[in-house]
Amino acid sequence: MEIPEDLRYTREHEWARRKGSAIVVGITDFAQEQLGDVVYVELPDVGDTVKKGESFGVVESTKAVSELFAPISGKVIEVNDPLSDAPETINEDPYEEGWMITIEPSDPKDLETLMDAAAYKAFVEEQE
């Protein structure tokens, strides 16, 4: 299972990556593995606001429907639209092509409240 060193993580298995002043968000390798084949994804629109810890979308696999939780608060400035036609990208490449949204953070310090790779690794091991 892959846990890139340079990302931050939530307890709900989302990752967050700094990109200039914005934050890119997706779900982790562990999350896609647990979900199984992703068949549908519902994401917000550009311009929507998201709130840390609250649902910003839905991901559906052949097993279950799960909510996506925003790792930070802010405004959605980019959405990975091709995912709606190719949800399998989330299984195939969760950290790069499978990114979901880019957020302009309302508080840049939000990112630091998230787990780093080592803490997330320990958290996942405890889950298994």
């Binding site: 084949d37 097993k63 279950a64």
Partner: protein, 522 residues
């Protein structure tokens, strides 16, 4: 080990050959004896063949009189079949179906009960089945009396003051329950903002809350699978309109702290909603109304054996305590002297939440449920719960050790295993479920509740014999053994039904929803 289905390895070989033989000349499409492969209806028939005789158009009919937009062009590829071909097509397809009348159907949390034929016969009595919904009350006294008595019985069985029969199904019952809770708080000047829901809940619980404008706060269950009072205390404040609890919960575990939890919620002015989906475990033994619940929906199609899952409409009566009675939806049946009457006008009930749907509820289901309650009587109703719990615990005990129990806590009418012991062999819950089909059993509920990874949730219900349960247990054990010796075979299952393992991922990602001429889908 004895094979529960009576299947012998030699038959498997024959069946494999048989798949191809369906194409062979002279076999008439039979796959196995008189079991048939069946093409699409579009692939049958012959150009110009017709199963009905339509009257000729009148002599003076001229299609050009009609507006062009209303005239349909010729339809390419419309099936052209004789009546007998149509009848055979759909009869053959129906023989591929599996239902409780065909075999064991242990779908946890859905309570797939056998529907007694006596209840069906009574619901078909012309006096019930042909009664017009707009018949005046004086011509519908029998039907109204039945509704009145069913309402009284449902109130008594769950320990509440009154029950509305109107909701069309369990989900509408939940919606109704939350509307009643909102109406109750609004009448006190503040509808409040939040609903507390444990992580073992059915997905309909947060949906019903959201539809009533409430934010959902999820509560974590403890390591024993129970909701703990301190969790509720920490989340409870005066913005909480209600807590929604399923008891026993979806792990089949009785929420033994329910009275204390209800006390905590009531102390801050909140109400306690009971999801009655698992009422089968409590019938005649314990009453939610005595545990502190204020509102509860029944699912007549689960608890009182009315048809389920496409077999008929559902029915989701909602039982309430006295404080909520003024808000009940219409209609209600009242008894005045020896006569019965429907209350349909809001002026008689100014605080009602109104009507949920047209007419008076799914009446045919009321007849079936009432028939069952009367046929069983109080002892039989209680025996239902006792046998349902006994059957589930028998399966649990037999399979303990073969499959992992994520929560060792005692369970009632259903039991949740997971695939932890099969994981090392690379066999998942999905594979076990698919392999069960090869053994002639409908798979149990899988991957629910969400708190269990790889959940396998088994609910046998009260009507299954020990022989059936033993056969199911033997199949489950055979699959666990096969997972060790030949995991590939389990992962490839099912191989024996008319259709082998379907590609569910592709079906969801690239659904083909409409047949078109010349289409050839692999």
């Amino acid at each position: 080990m004895a094979n529960p289905t009576g299947w012998k390895p030699s038959m498997e070989q024959e069946a494999k050959g048989g798949g191809a033989a369906a194409e062979a000349p002279g076999l008439g499409g039979a796959v196995r004896g008189l079991a048939y492969e069946e093409p699409l209806v579009f692939e049958h028939g012959s150009r110009g063949r017709c199963g009905v005789s339509l009257p000729p158009p009148p002599a003076d009919f001229d299609a050009s009189d009609l507006p062009a937009a209303l005239v349909r062009p010729a339809v390419d590829g419309l099936p052209e079949l004789s009546e007998l071909e149509v009848v055979r097509h759909f009869t053959r397809l129906s023989s591929w179906n599996h239902g409780i009348d065909t075999g064991f159907y242990p779908l946890g949390s859905c309570t797939m009960k056998y529907n007694p034929k006596s209840s069906e016969a009574l619901a078909r009595l012309p006096g019930f089945a042909e009664l017009h919904p707009l018949a005046p009350a004086e011509l519908a006294q029998g039907a109204l009396e039945l509704m009145y008595r069913l309402e009284r019985a449902l109130s008594e069985i769950a320990g509440f003051d009154a029950t509305t029969l109107a909701p069309a199904a369990g989900a509408q019952g939940e919606l109704t329950g939350l509307m009643l809770i909102r109406a109750y708080h609004e009448a006190r000047g503040n509808p409040r903002k939040k609903v507390l829901i444990p992580d073992t809940a059915h997905g309909t619980n947060p949906a019903s809350s959201a539809l009533n404008g409430y934010a959902v706060v999820q509560l974590a269950s403890g390591p024993d699978g129970r909701l703990h009072p301190e969790t509720v205390r920490a989340a409870m404040d005066e913005d909480v309109a209600a807590i929604m609890i399923t008891n026993p919960n979806t792990l089949g575990v009785f929420e033994s702290h329910i009275a204390e939890i209800a006390g905590i919620v009531h102390a801050k002015g909140g109400l306690v909603y009971g999801d009655g989906a698992n009422m089968n475990a409590l019938l005649g033994v314990a009453r939610p109304g005595d545990m502190g619940f204020d509102v509860m929906q029944y699912n007549l199609h689960k608890t009182f054996a009315t048809p389920h899952g496409g077999g008929g409409p559902g029915s989701g009566p909602v039982a309430v305590k006295a404080a909520l009675v003024p808000h009940l939806p219409l209609p209600l049946v009242v008894k005045e002297g020896e006569r019965y009457r429907l209350v349909t006008e809001a002026r008689e009930r100014p605080q009602t939440i109104g009507k949920l749907r047209e007419f008076w509820g799914n009446f045919g289901m009321f007849v079936r449920a009432w028939a069952l309650i009367r046929e069983y009587g109080p002892e039989g109703v209680r025996a239902t719960a006792e046998l349902a719990v006994l059957n589930a615990n028998y399966v649990r005990k037999q399979l303990e050790g073969t499959y992992h129990l994520p929560y060792p806590t005692d369970s009632l009418h259903e039991v949740v295993f997971d695939d932890a012991q099969q994981k090392d062999a690379g066999v998942t819950t999905m594979d076990v479920a698919k392999r069960l089909i090869d053994h002639g059993f409908h798979p149990p509920t899988i991957y629910f509740p969400l708190v269990v990874h790889g959940a396998l949730m088994i609910e046998p219900t009260e009507t299954e014999s020990r022989e059936t349960l033993d056969a199911f247990v033997a199949a489950m054990k055979a699959i666990a053994e096969e997972a060790k010796t030949d995991p590939e075979a389990v992962r490839a299952a099912p191989t024996r039904p008319v259709r082998a393992r379907l590609d569910e991922t592709r079906a969801a990602r690239k659904p083909v929803l409409r047949w078109q001429p010349g289409m050839n889908v692999e």
